[in-house]
């Protein structure tokens, strides 16, 4: 299956609460001071991180149009 989503981080808005990495089912993320992608290959693009990020600092972007 061709993936048409991209995981985007807006570091400037991240407050480092750790919610995204705690509820990511595939350990894709790590939060020290700010969120960082540590294992993009494992990402299943489920959007668990986006829906619970209180700061809108991580989200999935559709890359459909440039496919």
């Amino acid at each position: 299956m061709k993936n048409n989503k991209k995981l985007v981080i807006n570091t400037a808005w991240c407050k480092g609460c750790g919610i995204c990495s705690a509820f990511c089912p595939k350990q894709v993320l790590e939060v020290k001071a700010k969120v960082k992608i540590v294992n993009l290959d494992a990402c299943i693009y489920c959007g668990q991180c986006e829906m619970r990020c209180p700061d809108y600092a991580i989200y999935l972007e559709d890359t459909n149009n440039d496919a």
Binding site: G18, A22, M51, R52, P54, D55, Y56
Partner: protein, 274 residues
């Protein structure tokens, strides 16, 4: 730089918001945007009204017609807007202090009146903005700056209170259960009559710290692990229910709606008097 949803429904020049790291208000505010987006309501036709508190700041961040009013009085302002412009989708966002302490009387009477507005409570069990005083939803025995030896009062269940006061729709959401809470908000907005969605919040800074509940992750995990459905919860004796996180609908009824009944009187009198 933000997702399409945030781009469309938030005033990005006001972001990042001032809420603390891990504050559940950010999750709930996105849920409100997502619910409105799913319903496809014209953004210009939404009037978002809030009072005062951390939760109430949502009216500054969300890009609708917005009113940031006075503490406890959001429902009174919202009632005025709805009476003048019944065509608008009027939504109130409020904290538990705002809606159930100082604003408690407005809440019960708007519910009784069954006016078609939707109230979304960001219920974090504490007064966040003013520094962690206990609120009407702080569980018995929990700590706040005004309850250094533990809270003596029993908490309100705001969802149950609204339903008992006559709200024709009442539901309970959480910060953890995002898709379910979005759906409950959608149904509340669609519902004709007074609708309240009591969403369990997360205030790691005051409620979490005062009560040794850990940070946002631990507080969200507790919501996940202690969740039971509203259907199950309200069959339990109250002392067993109180430690649970309740998700689902409490009431969904078809009662006469206030602005429609009011219009009927106008129509009747106009007809009578020529």
């Amino acid at each position: 730089m933000a997702s399409k949803l945030i781009d469309k429904y938030m005033r990005e020049d006001h972001l990042p918001h001032i809420w603390c790291p891990g504050c559940g208000h950010g999750i709930l505010m996105r849920n409100v945007a997502k619910a409105i987006d799913n319903l496809g309501i014209n953004q210009e036709k939404v009037c978002l009204v809030s009072g005062i508190g951390c939760a109430a700041r949502a009216a500054g961040y969300m890009d609708f017609q917005t009113m940031h009013t006075t503490h406890g009085r959001a429902i009174a302002f919202a009632t005025g807007v709805k009476m003048a412009r019944p065509d608008l989708e009027v939504i109130v966002i409020a904290g538990d202090g705002d809606i159930a302490a100082i604003g408690g009387n407005h809440l019960i009477h708007a519910a009784r009146r069954n006016i078609n507005i939707t109230v979304i409570v960001f219920n974090n069990d504490i007064y966040g903005m003013t520094g962690g005083q206990y609120s009407p939803t702080t569980p018995t025995g929990d700590y706040g700056t005004t309850a250094p030896y533990g809270n003596l009062d029993r908490p309100f269940d705001i969802g149950l209170l609204a339903a008992a006061a006559g709200a024709s729709y009442s539901a309970k959401g959480t910060c953890y259960h995002v898709p379910q809470t979005i759906k409950l908000i959608e149904d509340g907005i669609k519902h004709k009559g007074f609708a309240l969605i009591d969403c369990l919040g997360v205030c790691p800074t005051y409620y979490g710290r005062k009560n040794k509940k850990g940070g946002a992750v631990e507080m969200l995990t507790r919501q996940k692990e202690n969740m039971i459905t509203a259907e199950q919860a309200y069959k339990l004796p109250i002392h067993e229910r109180e430690s649970k996180v309740i998700l689902g609908k409490i009431a969904e009824n078809d009662f006469p709606e206030f602005t429609e009944e009011y219009q009927k009187i106008i129509d009747r009198l106009v007809k009578q008097n020529g």
